[in-house]
Amino acid sequence: MTAAVKIDVARLDAWFGRVHAVKGVSIQVPERGVLAVIGPSGCGKSTFLRCLNRMHELVPGARAAGRVLLDGDDVYGGSVDPVLLRRRVGMVFQRPNPFPAMSIRDNVIAGLKLNGLPRDTDEVLERCLTQAALWDEVKDRLGGSPLALSGGQQQRLCIARALAVEPEVLLMDEPASALDPIATARIEELIHELKERYTIVLVTHNMQQAARTSDLTAFFYLGELVECGPTEQIFTNPKESRTEDYVTGKFG
């Protein structure tokens, strides 16, 4: 790993009430790298992801302990405003969640408008939709409802919306699990393009997806990080037998 470390997680623990969802996880993600987080349902991968932009703490009774460094600064430091942190660490969710009361256009620039960030909105609109590989499909109906788009288009709209606030890191929580294989392929292509500029953490249930898109893969099981390493090594020559059993389909 020659690139600078973008995200440095050390001994991260997270709880929902009494449930210990993430147990002592340490992971480093290099700048412009793609980390895929795999593991069976309920293994804490989504919770881990949400700890990175402090979305976790929005759930009543949830808390986290440990250290998460973004460019060397602790995101849980006392002077860090989680609102500003989330502008640096964007997020795409499992189900497409465009704002139904806004047009396609307003969805893309929602982050800028709601945050009062002065930008050339037309430029942002075209750039983000192009980056999200959606521009050609929606350029003639920017004023229309996002609900008229297909699921895959809606998800790419949500990616464009996340890109508009110019984040440095993009967290993706099973972004393709609600989509069909063709839409999934488009999202994966998109991840390939986006990693030129952004550091990406991708949670997925789909091991082929992890193998296709990521540089690093982390395998979570029951809240613990079992193994983290270069994707190729995890899928061909894992060190842990539990990882091998999971990636070869013996359980999970």
Partner: protein, 281 residues
């Protein structure tokens, strides 16, 4: 076989009983509409909508000032009641699980159950006494007290229907929580809230008791909110308890006008909610 026949018999009997119940429920409604239309239509004329009431014994005249007055009082009620009601609804939906939230919810339920005449007395004490005069403002305050609990509860429920994922989507963009509540969540629920508001306006428009000793009545045009103001409901009441035949006629016609106004609002609410359910475009 006997069982089967018995069951069919019970089935038919119950169907007939339910049908009768529907007829019984509809009879008052239809007869009310029929009566108001039949008796009211006789006095209907363009002048009735545009002219002032005439003194006893003078033919003609209308309730133009009362129509304007009702609209003004309801507008004042909305100006007070909607921000408070919708604001309370947002609070209850977003932060209402604590002790304060439960207290607010309980209080608003109690308020919704207070008889409207009592609300009128409260508004009299709150506004009429200190101002030392009856006014449209006092009437508006009284009606707003009736609107607040219904608008608050409806807003709360409609805001709770907005999926959590939308909140999270906005928060993940680095939008502060209060802006997320107002500009994403509330905005998404606004179509439904508009419907609820129209129904609530239609309901307070038909209130008489809270206006009797707040906005009182006025024989002339009035647009000043600090003056006594005519309203359709109080006008109907005054005409109806009078001993004069032509005033009785005016009461019927004014009742018909009020019914039309309320019906229009209900129709508007229906159209709004249908457009919302019709969805995507």
């Amino acid at each position: 076989m006997r069982r089967f026949r018995l069951r069919k018999l019970v089935n038919v009997t119950m169907t007939v009983v339910c049908g009768l119940a529907v007829v019984v429920a509809l009879v008052p409604l239809v007869s009310l509409l029929w009566l108001v239309i039949k008796k009211g239509v006789a006095g209907l004329s363009p002048e009735f909508f545009t002219q002032l009431p005439t003194p006893m014994g003078v033919p003609g005249g209308g309730v133009g000032n009362a129509i304007v007055g009702t609209l003004m009082i309801v507008a004042i009620a909305c100006a007070i009641g909607l921000p408070v009601g919708i604001g309370a609804g947002v609070y209850l939906a977003e932060k209402g699980d604590g002790r304060l939230g439960r207290t607010v919810r309980f209080t608003s339920e109690v308020l919704a159950g207070v008889p409207s005449i009592v609300i009128g007395i409260v508004a009299w004490g709150l506004v009429v006494l200190p101002m030392k005069r009856f006014s449209a403002l006092a009437g508006g305050v009284a009606l707003s007290l009736i609107m607040i609990p219904t608008v608050a509860r409806a807003s709360e429920e409609l805001i709770r229907l907005v999926p959590r994922s939308l909140r999270e989507g906005a928060l993940a963009l680095g939008v502060p929580e209060w802006k997320t509540s107002l500009r994403v969540v509330l905005r998404t629920a606004l179509g439904g809230i508009a419907t609820a508001v129209l129904l609530s306006v239609a309901r307070v428009m038909g209130e008489t008791a809270p206006l009797l000793f707040t906005s009182l009545n006025n024989q002339y045009w009035n647009l000043a909110p600090d003056q006594p103001t005519a309203s359709l409901t109080v006008e109907i009441y005054d005409y109806a308890i009078s001993p004069f035949r032509d005033w009785h006629q005016k009461a019927w016609t004014a009742a018909l006008v009020l019914l039309l106004l309320v019906g229009l609002l209900n129709l508007g609410a229906r159209v709004l909610s249908r457009n919302r359910l019709g969805g995507a475009s």
